[in-house]
């Protein structure tokens, strides 16, 4: 009897340890990265169990949502801010949340049946649009009511929708290797591309009637925004995860080999490339001073418009998220609780860090 008890106890403890460590429930382990957004007065950071509102003056915390960590609620998606003072954020728990930007109070919750939110929401005058891992695009009013029936693609969607106010269109990049154009007023399909050769996990960049997408098929592809026909393709060394960034003439995009490419928007020809080290996961930031981007190795890199590295800073931990410009600062999110958000000036000198001291 004693031996039965011993065997049963050993197996029970092993089972509990294994299931606790497996991460299979995907409720406990942070398996995504931070999302950043800002309005005129504060910065919003979504990471792991919380959405934080951060004071841009000194990096202090103004509020967090929820007040206490809920293991069943994690955030992989970046937030978006509405003109009526709401922070919209998708949870990895089948819910889209609207929070009061002033206080962090929950205004409403829009539940979806199956999907989880990895891509951020799009806020427009026509409504709030968010896509989920069930492959569906959801349209919601600013009050949290469904606007039109969800539009379904064939696979998961990890990218935020993009809008074109001129035609009241939405552009959706799906992991089914296609880009879709929808009517923002009713959700009807306007056009969709053929299989572009690889999954697309980030939003298209849009400019002057063209869409630019990076794919896991190691390509950047330019499409006509009017009908989805291809304009050009550029081959990269590795998967392209992030959205391309645009300026007047050029396009800047990184790939998982860690190469940042500058291309001519008109024909996709290569202008220059740099490879400072570590995979480039998210979108570069283009400002008047130059181009800023982060790499997985914790590098924040500033490059001149001509392709010379101005400076690079190494932060602790990993940096996956696109840098965000706020006033004169460059904000960079990391995966380290002691420096979830770092503010640098345009020369790479640190100004403040935001730490989650309660975690």
């Amino acid at each position: 009897m004693k031996k039965h008890l011993l065997t049963a106890t050993i197996l029970l403890v092993s089972a509990l340890l294994l299931t606790a460590c497996s991460g299979s429930s995907r409720r406990v382990v942070a398996s995504g990265w931070a999302g950043l957004a800002a309005d005129e007065t504060q910065v919003y950071l979504a990471y792991h169990n919380f959405v934080y509102a951060v004071d841009p003056a000194d990096g202090s915390e103004r509020w967090r949502y929820p007040k206490e960590a809920n293991p069943a609620l994690t955030f992989y998606a970046p937030p978006a801010v509405t003109t009526d003072g709401q922070v919209i954020i998708g949870g990895y728990n089948h819910n889209l949340y609207a929070l009061d930007a002033e206080s962090g109070r929950e205004n409403w919750v829009f539940p979806i049946p199956e999907g989880r939110f990895i891509g951020g929401p799009l806020v427009t005058e026509a409504g709030i649009f968010a896509a989920a891992t069930d492959g569906k695009v959801y349209a919601v009013t600013p009050e949290g009511k469904q606007l039109w029936s969800p539009f379904a693609t064939e696979k998961e969607i990890w990218a935020a929708p993009v809008s074109d106010p001129d035609c009241e269109c939405l552009y959706i990049a799906s992991m089914d290797h296609r880009v879709y154009a929808l009517d923002a007023r009713g959700g009807q399909l306007l056009w969709k591309t053929d299989d572009l050769g690889g999954a697309i996990v980030s939003s298209p960049a849009m400019d002057d009637g063209s869409l630019y997408v990076g794919t896991f098929g190691r390509q950047v592809i330019a499409l006509d925004a009017g009908d989805g026909t291809e304009k050009w393709r550029f081959d990269t060394q590795e998967w392209v995860w992030g959205t391309p960034a645009l300026d007047e003439n050029n396009l800047y995009v990184g790939d998982l080999s860690g190469t940042l490419y500058a291309l001519n928007k008109a024909d996709g020809s290569l202008l220059w490339q740099v490879q400072p080290g570590g995979a480039i996961v998210d979108e570069p930031l283009v400002t008047a001073e130059g181009i800023y981007f982060t790499t997985e190795d914790g590098l924040v890199v500033s490059v001149t418009p001509e392709g010379s590295i101005r400076w690079q800073q190494t932060l602790d931990g990993h940096t996956y998220t696109a840098p965000l410009a706020f006033e004169e600062m460059i904000l960079v999110a990391t995966d380290q609780p002691v420096a979830l958000l770092a503010a640098l000036d345009s020369n790479g000198v640190g100004k403040w860090v935001f730490a989650d001291t309660k975690e």
Binding site: K3, H4, T7, A8, S24, S25, E156
Partner: protein, 253 residues
């Protein structure tokens, strides 16, 4: 080194996935069978050694020395060693093949889990292992009623309002069958080895069922295929012990 091995396993798994029409359930089944075939010689050797050891421990001679020297552990150990030598059985003979198989089985498990990437960091990690299979992403995780990337507790079928852990039950049942069919009947029903075997035979299937319920159901599918493959392998060797399935067989031998 280990990462390169995992990359190899993942790429083989994805190659099979592509060959079977992008069905990840079938890919797991064929991948498990392929690995089992590769490990067949080692496994056979381990099974033979293990069987010889079990038969020795079930022999009359073994039982006699257990009784005779039950109060003298040192003498008992000496007599046991003598018996091992007489019968040409190496008590550790089944360990080496198991040790060699272990990293391969762990690699198989890791390949399945990593290929089932569903979150951004998991997919980013997977991207570092894939050579030419980028066009296969995202993996189609649906097989029969299952989402292979989720534990059964997150999507399990419901019957009259209650969740029915079908895969966990199948895993527990096949584990039980495997243990029963592959354990020789022991005449020394009360010796320590037999008692431990009975305890493991009872609790291990429950343990496996619990793992199947809590981990990704892709892993549960692997457990089922692996259990059935072991039973089939034993059957091919003509060593299945059907008598163990009869009620009271363990007691009477």
């Amino acid at each position: 080194m280990w990462d390169s091995f995992i990359s190899l396993m993942i790429n083989v798994l994805l190659f099979i996935y592509q060959m079977v029409g992008q069905n990840f359930g079938l890919a797991i089944i064929f991948f498990t069978i392929l690995i089992r075939l590769i490990l067949y010689p080692l496994n056979t050797q381990q099974m033979k050694q293990s069987k010889a050891l079990q038969e020795l421990q079930a022999s009359k001679k073994w039982q006699e020395i257990q009784k005779k020297y039950k109060n003298d552990r040192e003498k008992l150990a000496q007599e046991q060693m003598k018996l091992y030598q007489e019968m040409g059985v190496n008590p550790f003979g089944s360990c080496l093949p198991t040790l060699i198989q272990f990293p391969i089985i762990i690699g198989l498990y890791q390949a399945i889990i990593r290929a089932l990437a569903v979150s951004p960091l998991q997919l980013l990690n997977l991207s570092k292992h894939i050579n030419d299979g980028a066009n296969l992403i995202p993996i189609n995780n649906h097989f029969l009623w299952m989402d292979l990337s989720l534990p059964e507790k997150d999507f399990g079928l419901t019957l009259f309002g209650y969740g029915v852990p079908i895969m966990a039950i199948i895993v527990a049942a096949t584990s039980y069958l495997q243990t029963k069919l592959m354990t020789p009947a022991s005449p020394g029903a009360n010796d320590q080895g037999a008692q431990m075997s009975r305890a493991m035979g009872l609790y291990m299937p429950l343990f496996m069922g619990w793992l199947a319920y809590s981990f990704s159901s892709g892993l549960a599918l692997y457990f089922v295929v692996s259990n059935l493959a072991s039973i089939l392998q034993y059957a091919l060797m003509g060593k299945l012990n059907w008598r163990n399935l009869l009620p009271g067989a363990a007691k009477t031998g």
